[in-house]
Subunit: 485 residues, 2 copies
């Protein structure tokens, strides 16, 4: 054996002997079955106390790199070790591939650079968040007794369930007691739990088309056969539902992304359809806290007598996405399964945030915030609609009554809305093309414009820039068209 | 039509007309096609201004309860409405059943009442949690700029990934850069993501037996064929693995619940087995922060050259379960799939906790806490082992080097450990029976004793009570046995 152990200089000699031998085994200089010098010999060779070597050997034996054979000496363990590369601090490349299901190119990063006006959708304004109250509530949660009781399902989550039930009852006529509420890490997890509990692989599920792509993708990863169902001026076209759909995912208050509220007739038809076809309706009420009309948007859940509707909501829009807190209210027959699905996957959520949110709701801060922020959003929405009014010859605004974005359809269906969006981006305005939200239905050209993340005083300038890019776009794209300019 | 609308008294008359008509439709007193009085007639009848009635009608029309037929009048919409019961504030019972998969009786509630000494497992001591530093870190996160940037994946989670990589590299020789780390809502979600990305329905997976039941259950809900593999003095018996296992879940640092550290030989054999059988090993390093021996416990991940190991960890034991923060380090080939699985289910986790944890790690508070708490736990563990020493004729302590609990086997295998545990509970001591942690292997009798949640000065009394219940237990249960007393 040719082993160089240098113990000159300062530092822990035992550690250096240990590390040198260990490295020699790991990189193959010492191989299984090699006899290492006796502690006495190595100590003499290195000019150190025998104990220094012994301690290193003991550790290597304990760790399994060396083994002592009584009467024969100390040997490298007879296991085929290969060396981890100490310098390579990356995880291994890996030989295992994920299921084909997951083998998709990652979504292209959303260019958010150099955005002057962000009309992205789904963004509430963090500047409106009542930070002072929130800090106080969080600080109150950070007491030892609270953290200790939150070791398992804390009192926080029970209080939060009760407060959510109260909120939903008051503002949305949702029929639920606290025990009917399951708190989740956002609306997406709520849908995930429902899919786990209801969907066999290959099950047919129906989603709105255009619709919320992340939920479609989620359902696909549950091996569902996901069908995109058209949306008309009354919302989801119930007659177009495949008869074997087990689950129907809808956004009736403010259809995503068109903003259309589902008509009462359509709601009732959907509920009847669900009963007839033994299906479950997932109602995602993602941003209806902010309503801009006296017209109440009655949730499906409160119309449902049969227990077919799972109502899903979130605080991502009414407060902040950073809170990562959503919830669901399911018929009681599904609750034990949903609770177990949550238990086996993520247990409870963040105890501090949940506890703080419960108090925040109980003390009325949430209601006050929704009122205040609603006024701000109403102003922004008004400015946005006024600005879009100037484009009325080109864009038709889709009527909506709630939410933090509006949708407008190009009157000329041949318009390349992605090109318009790209030109808007070049002028510093981030806005989304409606056509990108289609799944299998023929895409329609339009713009989806959020007003959650843009100040009122910036909206005129944003719209002015939009006008500049929309008009040439229409001209370029529709030189042979009949509509438009 | 016989409709009583009372608008006497005070209050918003429009609202009362609206609510009365709406209720009449919903509870069936007015049915589809019924003609309602004209606004003029009803105004006269009620003695109110016509506008008062008109506004109520407009709202009912907008909401879809009524429809106006030009020239004919106003009618109840021709949709078969059934009434939600306004008084019933519970969710509907529901007609939909979950998949059989989820149709299991809920776990019996764990009796935690009147516990004098809680020797439950998996509990760190919240009294040791460095609350002052944590409060400071959380307060620092609660700034508007942080909450805004945390709208999507925040800087907090990137910093946290980098800090976890540094921590794992330093303390566990895990090979990972920040970009290799995926932060999860606890170790359970980490396993869930791996299962989503790797397991076809019906896939064979192997778990330790005895083992961690929650993970076994999770894997079952992924429709896996879950096999319990025996554990011997060196850890998981690799030779007993089914050849078609796609995933092997192990706790090599501190086998749950026996505490056995997997020998190096067995680790290497497991890695070779995984390569040979194209399997993935999930290494759950759930509580190895607290080590009570010079003997290093080399993670499988750092021995793995082939990229077969997914390393899973959590802050639930080193800090607090209430933080609900875990992580995984996977071979790079699995990372895009795992990130997408996380994205489609829960997006990011709690931004405040993640940001606070990143700073907490970066500023060395975590390392300092583990050192301090480690000393406290070492003392408790010593007292526990000393106490168990007095029962050496009855119980054999399983050697372990890390973690927050120890396991002891009854020398008499016929001992009814559940009966012992029940007697201990009657004496105010909560402790777990080893036999309850078995899946399909023949259960062995023993006790699993946590020292995370019990003060050092209480341990002698807890053990004294345990001695009292163990000895009669052994006597009672083994009157014909050969071992034991």
């Amino acid at each position: 054996m040719d082993l160089h152990v240098s113990v000159g200089g300062r530092g822990d000699r035992t550690a250096r002997i240990y590390l040198t031998l260990r490295a020699a085994v790991l990189d193959g200089r010492l191989v299984a079955g090699d006899r290492v010098p006796s502690t006495r010999d190595l100590a003499v060779q290195l000019g150190v106390a025998r104990g220094t070597v012994s301690v290193a050997y003991d550790r290597l034996v304990a760790e399994g790199f060396l083994e002592s054979r009584p009467g024969a000496g100390t040997f490298v363990t007879t296991v085929p070790l290969t060396a981890p590369d100490g310098r390579e601090r990356r995880a291994r490349p890996g030989a295992v591939q994920p299921l084909d299901l997951w083998d998709r190119p990652p979504a292209p990063p959303q260019g958010r650079g150099r955005v002057l006006h962000d009309l992205g959708i789904g963004l509430p304004d963090p500047a409106l968040f009542p930070l002072a109250q929130w800090r106080r509530e969080v600080a109150r949660q950070l007491r030892r007794s609270r953290l200790a009781e939150a070791t398992y399902a804390g009192r926080g989550v029970w209080r939060l369930q009760a407060e959510i039930a109260r909120l939903l009852g008051l503002t949305r006529s949702v029929a639920a007691a606290g025990e009917d509420v399951i708190v989740t890490a956002g609306a997406q997890q709520a849908v995930d739990l429902v899919a786990r509990v209801l969907l066999e692989p290959g099950a047919t599920v129906a989603v709105e088309d255009p619709g919320y792509a992340a939920v479609g993708r989620l359902l696909e990863t549950h091996r569902a056969d996901v069908r995109g169902i058209p949306v008309d001026a009354e919302g989801l076209v119930v007659d177009a539902l495949p008869p074997d759909a087990r689950l129907v995912y809808v956004t009736p208050s403010h259809q995503f992304p068109t903003g259309i509220p589902m008509s009462l007739r359509r709601r009732v038809a959907l509920l009847s359809w669900a009963v007839e076809h033994d299906a479950v309706v997932v109602e995602d009420d993602y941003d209806s806290e902010f309503r801009f009309s006296d017209q109440p948007v009655e949730p499906l859940q409160s119309l449902d007598r049969e227990g077919r509707v799972v109502y899903v909501g979130t605080f991502s829009k009414s407060l902040l996405p950073a809170l990562r807190t959503g919830f669901l209210v399911a018929p009681r027959s599904l609750q034990p399964g949903l609770r177990e699905a949550k238990r086996v996957t993520t247990w409870e959520g963040d105890a501090t945030t949940q506890g703080a949110l419960a108090e925040f709701l109980a003390e009325g801060h949430h209601a006050a915030h929704v009122r205040r922020a609603g006024r701000v959003y109403a102003e922004r929405r008004g400015l946005m609609l006024a600005g879009l009014g100037e484009l009325d010859d080109v864009l038709r605004v889709v009527p909506s009554v709630a939410g933090l974005h509006v949708c407008a359809l190009f009157r000329d269906p041949q318009t390349d809305d992605r090109a318009v969006v790209a030109r808007a981006a070049a002028r510093g305005v981030r806005v989304e093309a409606l056509s990108t939200h289609f799944r299998e239905q023929p895409p329609r050209a339009g713009l989806v414009l959020g007003f959650g993340g843009v100040d009122a005083q910036a909206i005129p300038d944003a719209l002015r820039r939009l006008v500049e890019v929309v008009r040439p776009g229409v001209r370029q794209e529709t030189s042979t068209g009949s509509a438009g300019v």
